[in-house]
Symmetry: C2
C-alpha cells in the first residue's frame, strides 16, 4: 500500500487540479489518498470529488489551516513562505495513529499541481522496509531535470542541483518516498517552519535516512516520471467586474 499525502487549498483551479490528479488514483489501485485541506473545515467540493472518482474506501479527508503569519499574502512570490507544513504534519500524525504498521507500506508527498506518470507508483512499490526511494524530478530548480548522481555501484554519490546544492538533500518533495516503518521508528520526524527556504526536504529526511542509504529507482535515476509543473493563476477580470455588480458567473455552479 502507498499513502499519498496531498495538502490542498481553495483557489479557482483547485477542482481542475484535483480532478486530473484523481485519475492517478483511478488507475493505481494500491494508492490511498490522504488529502489535507488548508481550511477550517473539510469541504463538500473535495469530498464529492473523491466520491465521484470511486475512491470511497481509499481516502482520508483531513483539514488544518495554515496559521495566518505563515500564509502567503496577495502578491507575495510563492517561495517566501513554506507551503503545506501544517498539512503534511497532520497527515503524519494520522498515519502514526491509524496506519497498519505491521504491513510494509510507503509514504509519498504528492503536491496537487505536479504531473505524475502511473509508472512512478510501480517504482515506489520497490522501496525496501527501512529505506527511502529516490528518483529524478523534471522542471524544477531552474533545470530540465534535477536528479541524483550514482556511482559505479549504483549508489547515490551526489546530486546535480544548481540551486542551493549545499543542502543535505538538495532535492524536491516529489523526488522521494519513504518506507512507513521509518516514521514509526523516528516519531520526531516532522516538517518545521523553522528552516530556511528549500530545506523542508532535508529537514524531514535527516531524521530518516543518510545519503548512502537512499534507494535509487526509476531505471537507476535515468527515467523522469514526475514533473514539477505549476498552473497559471487564472485571470478573472470579467468575474471581478461582475462581482462589483453583485453578480457572478458561477451562481449555483461548482467550478
Amino acid at each position: 500500500k502507498i499513502y499519498a499525502i496531498t495538502p490542498t487549498y481553495a483557489r479557482p483551479a483547485q477542482k481542475a487540479e484535483l480532478t486530473r490528479l484523481s485519475h492517478i488514483f483511478m488507475l493505481v489501485p494500491n494508492l490511498h489518498w490522504i488529502l489535507i485541506e488548508d481550511s477550517n473545515t473539510t469541504t463538500p467540493l473535495v469530498r464529492n470529488l473523491l466520491l465521484r472518482a470511486g475512491l470511497e474506501n481509499r481516502f482520508t479527508q483531513l483539514n488544518i489551516k495554515t496559521p495566518p503569519e505563515f500564509k502567503l499574502q496577495g502578491k507575495d512570490p510563492n517561495w517566501i513562505k513554506p507551503r503545506g507544513v501544517e498539512q503534511r504534519n497532520l497527515a503524519l500524525t494520522w498515519l502514526r495513529a491509524h496506519a497498519n504498521v505491521d504491513r510494509h507500506a510507503i509514504v509519498f508527498f504528492m503536491d496537487d499541481d505536479n504531473s505524475y506518470a502511473v509508472e512512478l507508483f510501480a517504482e515506489m512499490s520497490k522501496i525496501q522496509p527501512g529505506r527511502v526511494g529516490i528518483w529524478p524530478v523534471g522542471l524544477v530548480g531552474g533545470l530540465m531535470v534535477e536528479r541524483p548522481l550514482l556511482d559505479s555501484e549504483n549508489r547515490v554519490a551526489g546530486f546535480n542541483a544548481a540551486w542551493r546544492p549545499e543542502r543535505p538533500f538538495p532535492i524536491d518533495m516529489a523526488a522521494f518516498a519513504i518506507s512507513l516503518d521509518l516514521f514509526i521508528k523516528y516519531p520526531q520526524a516532522v516538517f518545521s517552519y523553522e528552516v530556511q527556504r528549500g530545506y523542508q526536504e532535508s529537514e524531514i529526511l535527516r531524521y530518516l535516512t543518510t545519503r548512502d542509504q537512499l534507494q535509487p529507482l526509476a531505471n537507476n535515476c535515468r527515467d523522469v516520471l514526475v514533473w514539477h509543473t505549476r498552473t497559471e493563476k487564472t485571470k478573472l477580470n470579467a468575474e471581478d467586474a461582475l462581482i462589483r455588480q453583485h453578480k457572478r458567473s458561477d451562481e449555483g455552479i461548482e467550478v
Copy 2:
C-alpha cells in the same frame, strides 16, 4: 466512438502535459486520440508516450508545422496569433478520409493543457447524429465559468460570455463536440487564419449548426467538466547557465 483531436508542440512541459492527458485515454475506452505535432516530423517522445500508455490501437500520430508567419515569437502574448489551426485541419482531413462514417461517432477538439473530467466523455456520447453538443467551461474568458444560457424548454437561448459576446458562438474550443456526420455533410468546414482573434470556434461552427440546434449537455449546462487551465512557463535559468558551458541536466534523458 469519440475522436479527440489534439494539436501539440515541443516545449519543456510537453511530456508532462501529454502524460497526464493520457490518463483520460487509459480510463475512457471508446476514445481515439488524434495527436498532431506542430513540427516537421512526428517524434519518438510522443510515439513512445502513446505506446507506454497502452494506446497502440487507439491513436493516430500526425504532424504539420505551423507556417513561420503564424508562429508565436519570443515574448509575444499567446493570444496574438491563432494556435492549432493547421493541426486541427489536418486531423479533419484525416477523419474525412479514414473514419468509418457509417457508424455514429463524435469529434472533440481537446487541447493538451486543459483539465478534463472523465464524465465529460460520457456526456459527449449522448450527442445525436447531426448535432453539436455543448456544455460549460471553467476558468476561461476572464470568468469562473463560461456557459450557455438555456430557456425554459432547455434550449440554448444565449451565452454568458463577457469577452466579445457579439461572436456568433461566444464559447471556447473545449465547450463543444460534433457529430462526425456533419463533417462529411459539410466538407468545407475547416479552421482559418483569416478570422479575428476569438473567432475560430464561430468559424467552424457556422458551417455545422445554428444556435437553436445546439444540444445542451452536462446536466443542462450546470455541471463543469472541463477547465481551461494553462501551465506556467518553466523557469530554466540554471539550465540556461549550463547550456552556456555546453552542458545540460538532461543529457541522455527524456524529460
